[in-house]
């Protein structure tokens, strides 16, 4: 079971990682476009549409990945104080009440939304001859499906947690504040901090 969970996690992560590179592409694309427009005086009419599509694809496709790494913001006032079992119970109930219907509806609606777009070979109307927009609209149901899948994994996680009393493990990923890495970056070692402690104690003694 744990293996299956981790496999689906890996799929979400892989998709998320793959689409993350869009931000690099987006940076280069816009930088080039800015250069091309202001220096070479040669703007591209499709640039705006492509920018938006890259951004939109990036954010929706990273949704499942973010969920797999529990990166979606949550109110931490009470949640942090709960025991894992309580946390899992609350999560389980709310996944079933809010997540499943919400994301299912989004995927379902997104499917028809994209299908309509495919049916008429819709093109962007921002500029006169805009690029095709149906692949972009397809991203919404696709992202919804991945998110739904990941949501089911999270539900199973909750069930396991309720049974075992502790959360099953997750795969590691880059973290925003990785203290060890930051320590290494500025060449600070744990001993240095420990040595510093004496100063704090001394100062406390003086008062």
């Amino acid at each position: 079971m744990q293996k299956l969970l981790l496999t689906i996690d890996k799929i979400s992560t892989f998709v998320g990682h793959a689409f993350s590179w869009l931000i690099v592409a987006l940076t280069f694309l816009i930088s080039w476009e800015v250069f091309s427009r202001y220096v070479l005086d040669h703007p591209h009419p499709w640039a705006f549409d492509v920018m938006i599509m890259m951004y939109g694809t990036l954010i929706v496709m990273a949704g499942a990945y973010t969920l797999a790494k529990s990166g979606h913001v949550r109110g931490d006032v009470l949640y942090g104080f709960f025991r894992p079992r309580t946390q899992a119970t609350i999560d389980l109930v709310l996944y079933v009440i809010f997540f499943i219907p919400g994301v299912f509806a989004l995927t379902y609606a997104g499917y028809y939304y994209a299908a309509e777009s495919w049916a008429i070979w819709e093109h962007s109307n921002v500029t006169a001859e805009g690029p095709p927009i149906y692949p972009f609209k397809t991203m919404l149901p696709l992202a919804g499906a991945f998110l739904f899948l990941q949501g089911i994994v999270e539900i199973i996680r909750c069930v396991i947690c309720i049974r075992q009393g502790e959360w099953p493990s997750r795969e590691e990923d880059v973290e925003e504040v990785d203290v060890d890495k930051l320590k290494q970056m500025v060449h600070v070692k744990d001993e240095d901090i420990a040595r510093l402690d004496q100063l704090v104690v001394q100062e406390g003694g003086k008062k």
């Binding site: 931000i23 930088s31 920018m51 009440i97």
Partner: protein, 670 residues
């Protein structure tokens, strides 16, 4: 199990809300499906109450909002036409989601976030802190001031509170403790400084607010600039005053800590003349010294002078441009105040490095002159965004006569020349070293920030374009610093090593960017579905009617709303507050005649306070994670309190004198 007090409090609050909800739910009409107008409004309020409960329970907010929005929206549609209600709510949902996906304001978020992660990983904070520390060595409370300035600059470029606080906790806290600073003051300076990135543009918070409230991000950036600087300035002022009044809390630095080590060539030349410029010119004729490095040093020494000359030429070009471009010259002049203000502090410190003899005391005697001299030092950073207006002005009417230079130009010219002479005269060997350090740490970052902000604020580029170019600049910066590091540590094939490093940096940064922006944007998807349902149910209307029935004056309304936002800042993150609650406040603003732009600035300042208010202040926990064992959370909280007081003072100041925030946007976008 012993349930903690916090839990009791939370649960009883929830119980109260749920019981109220159950009592007031129009059950009867809910089941037969015939909801009257008032029933719907009541449902809307219930929805709001429930969302507070659900958020407090700790479920990912984006999906709570989405699920609840769908359910209640369906109820609202069903009361009108049960047959097509399902189709309607699905349409609403997908359109809302798609509008977030194709939002041309939110697109700047991943780019700015990406830029932040890249700059963070460029690994320049160590150098930045060290050079600022030396440059500010004469100021009372030098280390704390240097900490705040470093934080302000670094946080502005990165915008990541956790990383800035952690890094400064690793760098500045040991330095301050070793210098005998009190734990409280050190902790306060680090946490308060680290949070400045929330407010000072280019900040993600302002983009999110702009997208929610429909206020132009450009105006918000222009408006938040001076309040941000003001807040940083107040922090610095506070530290200086504390250091003056209670020297035992922040003792002055010892001679040892202030000493600048001179490289051999400077030592050799310092016998010749105390002045670096004269010494280096003399060194040119000295055959005993490596000529190339003398010329190199001389070039660095003359950089301020060169940039002042370049700036004067540009201003002259702008001032004497043909009549059609008169507006532009005003623009240029207005702009000159801004970057100078930003960099004035660090660079005035530049003028005051350790002085060893009385002969050198001119700097002490002429503080005012130094102040004016400081401004043009900032010129190199200001030059970049200013090139374009001046150049743009020129081709407007090439046939027209150039106008003679106005009087103000000659005043600028004279002060520029005076500054030039003063800098040249004051440039001794220690200052030269400090200047070189600043040149490699402070100025690149400052130039980048000013270029990004300047191009946005002066309307040369959209925030998206500026963010992308900023991210590209961040990449170059990271590459340059890694390359220098690789060269210095004598790794084989420094270019290959740098490229490999850069690949790793790009990979990590883009993964983190994907997670952060997905988090913000899915929250947006959820909240826009939610607020659409809320409006459908008429909850908005009900709240409006209720607030108006209170008969508040504008001032009362402002105080009340800011107070509510402040309270919400405890349990919720700023993203949640803005995307969920701003749509409720914004329509009320028009009724009270409050400018949404001004309101946004107040909200941004206010939410920053939330980062420093115990017991939930994230900054404190980040600092605690890297501080020595005996530094307690209480000490950190105690250190943060005065800075929190300053923030409240800043909010009041901004409210009393709205011009602090509104002057720049009004000037630029009349």
């Amino acid at each position: 199990m012993k349930i903690r007090r916090e839990l009791w409090f939370g649960f009883s609050l929830m119980a109260i809300i749920i019981v109220t909800v159950l009592i007031f739910t129009p059950w009867a009409s809910l089941f037969d499906g015939h909801l009257s107008h008032d029933d719907l409004g009541a449902l809307g309020l219930l929805m709001l109450a429930l969302i507070v409960v659900a958020i407090m329970l700790g479920f990912p907010t984006a999906f709570t909002l989405m699920g609840m929005g769908v359910a209640f929206g369906w109820l609202a549609y069903r009361s009108v036409n049960p047959q097509i209600a399902t189709q309607q709510i699905l349409d609403l949902m997908v359109q809302r989601a798609y509008s977030v996906m194709s939002n041309d304001v939110l697109i700047a978020i991943p780019l700015f976030v990406f830029m932040g992660y890249l700059v963070e990983r460029a690994n320049l904070i160590e150098k930045l802190f060290k050079s600022l520390h030396l440059a500010l060595a004469r100021v009372p409370g030098a280390l704390a001031v240097a900490t705040i300035v470093t934080c302000a600059i670094f946080a502005t470029a990165t915008g990541i509170v956790g990383a800035v606080v952690t890094l400064m906790g690793l760098l500045a806290l040991p330095a301050m403790l070793r210098a005998g600073y009190s734990v409280q003051l050190s902790a306060g300076a680090i946490t308060a400084g680290g949070c400045l990135g929330i407010l000072i543009p280019p900040s993600v918070l302002l983009i999110v607010y702009g997208a929610t409230a429909g206020v132009s991000v450009v105006k918000l950036y222009a408006g938040a600039f001076f309040p941000g600087i003001m807040l940083a300035g107040l922090y610095v002022l506070f530290v200086i005053i504390v250091a003056k009044l209670k020297p035992h809390l922040a003792p002055p630095l010892s001679e040892e800590e202030r000493r600048v080590v001179l490289p051999p060539i400077s030592q050799a030349l310092s016998g010749r003349s105390r002045n670096a410029v004269a010494g280096l010119f003399g060194g040119l004729r000295d055959a005993g010294l490596p000529r190339r490095s003398v010329v190199g040093q001389l070039f660095v020494t003359l950089l301020p002078a060169l940039s002042i000359v370049a700036l004067l030429l540009l201003v002259y070009g702008g001032a004497t441009a043909p009549v059609a471009a008169v507006d532009t010259s005003g623009l240029v002049q207005a702009g000159s105040g801004m970057p100078a203000e930003e960099t004035a502090e660090p660079s005035s410190g530049l003028q005051e490095p350790p002085m060893e003899s009385a002969a050198d005391s001119a700097g002490v005697k002429e503080p005012e002159a130094l102040g004016t001299a400081a401004a043009p030092v900032a010129a190199p950073s200001a030059a970049a965004p200013r090139v374009a207006p001046a150049q743009a002005a020129a081709p407007v009417a090439p046939a027209a006569e150039r106008v003679p230079a106005p009087t103000w130009f000659w005043i600028v010219f004279a002060s520029g020349i005076a500054a030039l002479l003063l800098i040249t005269w004051l440039m001794n060997w220690q200052r030269l070293e400090i200047f070189k350090m600043l040149l490699t740490s402070f100025f690149p970052l400052a130039v980048m920030i000013v270029a990004v902000l300047g191009s946005i604020v002066f309307g040369l580029a959209t925030p998206t374009e500026a963010a992308a170019v900023g991210a590209f600049g961040g990449l170059l910066l990271a590459g340059a610093y890694r390359y220098v590091a690789a060269r210095q540590s004598h790794r084989p094939h420094p270019i290959n090593a740098t490229l490999r490093d850069l690949g790793g940096i790009m990979k990590e940064s883009s993964f983190l960017t994907a997670k952060t922006s997905a988090m913000v944007c899915w929250l947006f998807v959820g909240s826009s579905i939610f607020s659409a349902s809320f409006a459908l149910l008429g909850g908005q209307e009900l709240i409006e009617r209720w607030v108006l029935s209170l008969g508040l004056t504008t001032v009362q309304f402002m105080i009340l709303s800011q107070f509510i936002i402040f309270i919400l800042g405890w349990p919720l993150e700023w993203t949640e507050i803005i995307v969920i609650f701003m749509p409720i406040f914004i329509p009320l603003l028009a009724k009270f005649g409050v400018d949404p732009l001004f309101f946004g600035l107040l909200v941004a300042l206010n939410l920053q306070t939330a980062f420093l208010s115990p017991p939930v202040a994230m900054a404190a926990f980040y600092l605690k994670g890297v501080s020595p064992r005996h530094v307690t959370l209480n000490q950190i909280f105690a250190g943060m309190m005065p800075f929190m007081g300053i923030q409240v003072l800043a909010i009041i100041l901004l409210y009393m004198f709205p011009q602090i925030g509104l002057w720049l946007p009004q000037l630029l976008y009349k």
